[in-house]
Symmetry: C2
Subunit: 321 residues, 2 copies
């Protein structure tokens, strides 16, 4: 074959993410290239120039001596960063409009659920109680978004349009229309002091591990009509201290939590999160992106790379995302 | 006194809507006018020039011989229209930005809940099952909005920005950016044939009574990844045939329903809606508007009226809204 092969290393996932579905999609968008679904005993590792991966095993990528680019089929690369044998080639995070739109759906839905007292209303329905409580306006609530990359900026914009006050925080300074932006460690407390609903979309790095802990929750704002503040984590499970979340929910430091990610996934059946009345949990499906969109994105990036163009969304290995 | 009095006829409601809270608000925004909380034995009906009402009893408004304007403290005037003794003076529907924003919150929340499979996800949580299902993109779902006044147009815009395909239907032709608009009886079937999630924000009139019935539900579109279509009614209970909704949910004609309004309110404790697994119900609180905003709006309308200006949002009595 003339062109280097594309190897797919896809582990786990729902029917949307089956290795066979990925193979079929990549065969279609890379018709002139060999697409290998690993492990494939008949293939020669030396022929592989590109790898598209979803939760690859540590060390698995080191097997390809002529690898040129790694594409991660999602936004979070923390698991790859932890692989000390990861080849030193460009690592591209997939950032497609479809993924951003889905994450914004999740964020808007869960912010509205807490804002509009959904847990209380579902309980009232179960108890057959017609008991409307006062409902405050969105303008009385400040939503704070940690992480102002593509995902955070889009969610911030959608929430602002719905009438919420929105503030944001990120490692480096950002500017988003209508959103008060804070950055860096020095401005973290000022940011937290404003927030009634905290949305975490940070990447998981050495600096952000367990950043969602009691110390942080105690700095959130408690003066909104919502009462105790709410935390929503759709980033990574490693961002949260799960024991702290449970204790803070129980002692009133937090009024509610929406969690899409966990320290261990699937969430163990004995986790107290399952049955906690203040927890709205989802099985890491906040932004379960369309393989069609992602495969087209990867094919286009390879085409540009081979034509001498620059790759998009290359991970900064020092920063970790 | 020099200025005609403002009479408040406010019946029922939550703590947000207590007659005393209304009185306090109107006293503040109309400092140079007598504000009467009816019934008030000491007041002279002839002094009343304005009435601000919430669910007044039939005949109650006929007691004021010098009434000039009636202000309805909400968007729906169907109950007032049914009062044959209603004085023939301008009837103003309150239409404040706050009410519109709250209704859009409700619509976006409930569309997202059905779109994102919330009933399934909550059931999975109760059963401690980590079982993500494929999630389609918003662009695979068409939301249809019946009623394209201020409320419908704002909700349509918010849904379109989140990525949904949005179509609308109203009595008379409308134009909304990015929304395919249908109108009149002749275009109703074409509108229904596109819809996966139906949102009803129509006024209740002789023409719209029980418009949400089996015949209509059977014309909705069933080809989206959502499966059976969903109905969301935040207009009036009189718009829906409740027996049809229940039967259509049970036989699969409908896949789900979010209801905020009912034929009888409060919803009777023996209603099957309370316990139906496909029904998400709320106690008529979709747009429980801030009395502060409404009282300011009424005071401003009276000021303009007395200065010879035109009243806003006057109900067309032939049209019924």
């Amino acid at each position: 074959m003339n062109k280097g092969a594309l190897a797919l290393l896809v582990h786990g996932g729902t029917e949307n993410w089956s290795p066979q579905r990925w193979k079929a999609r990549f065969d279609e968008v890379c018709p002139d290239r060999s697409v290998l679904l690993l492990p494939d005993a008949s293939s020669d590792p030396a022929e592989v120039h590109y790898a598209a991966v979803w939760k690859p095993h540590p060390g698995e990528l080191a097997a390809f001596p002529n690898l040129r680019v790694i594409f991660n089929l999602g936004a979070g690369v923390d698991a790859l960063m932890a692989d000390r044998s990861l080849p030193d080639v460009p690592l591209v995070r997939v950032a497609v409009t479809d993924l951003t739109a889905r994450m914004t759906e999740y964020v808007v839905l869960h912010v509205l659920m807490h804002h509009r007292q959904e847990p209380y209303l579902r309980e009232s329905q179960r108890e057959k109680r017609w008991a409307p409580k006062s409902q405050w306006a969105a303008g009385a609530v400040t939503v704070g978004i940690m992480g102002l990359g593509t995902l955070g900026a889009d969610a911030a914009d959608a929430l602002r349009r719905l009438g919420f006050r929105v503030v944001g925080w990120s490692r480096s300074p950002k500017q988003i229309e209508g959103v008060t932006c804070f950055h860096g460690k020095l401005q973290l407390d000022a940011f937290l002091g404003r927030i009634n609903i905290l949305v975490c979309l940070l990447p998981l790095t050495l600096n952000t591990r367990q950043i969602l802990n009691r110390g942080l929750f105690e700095k959130l704002n408690r003066t909104s009509p919502l009462g105790a503040p709410v935390v929503i984590n759709a980033g990574r499970g490693g961002l949260q201290n799960e024991a702290d979340i449970l204790q803070c929910l129980d002692d009133g430091t937090l009024g509610g939590a929406s969690l899409d990610v966990y320290a261990t996934e699937p969430l163990p059946v004995d986790s107290p999160f399952w049955t906690h009345p203040k927890v709205v949990l989802t099985p890491h499906n906040a932004a379960d992106t369309d393989p069609d969109e992602i495969s087209k994105y990867v094919a286009e990036q390879i085409r540009r790379f081979e034509a001498g163009g620059a790759l998009e969304n290359v991970v900064d290995r020092n920063r970790g995302y």
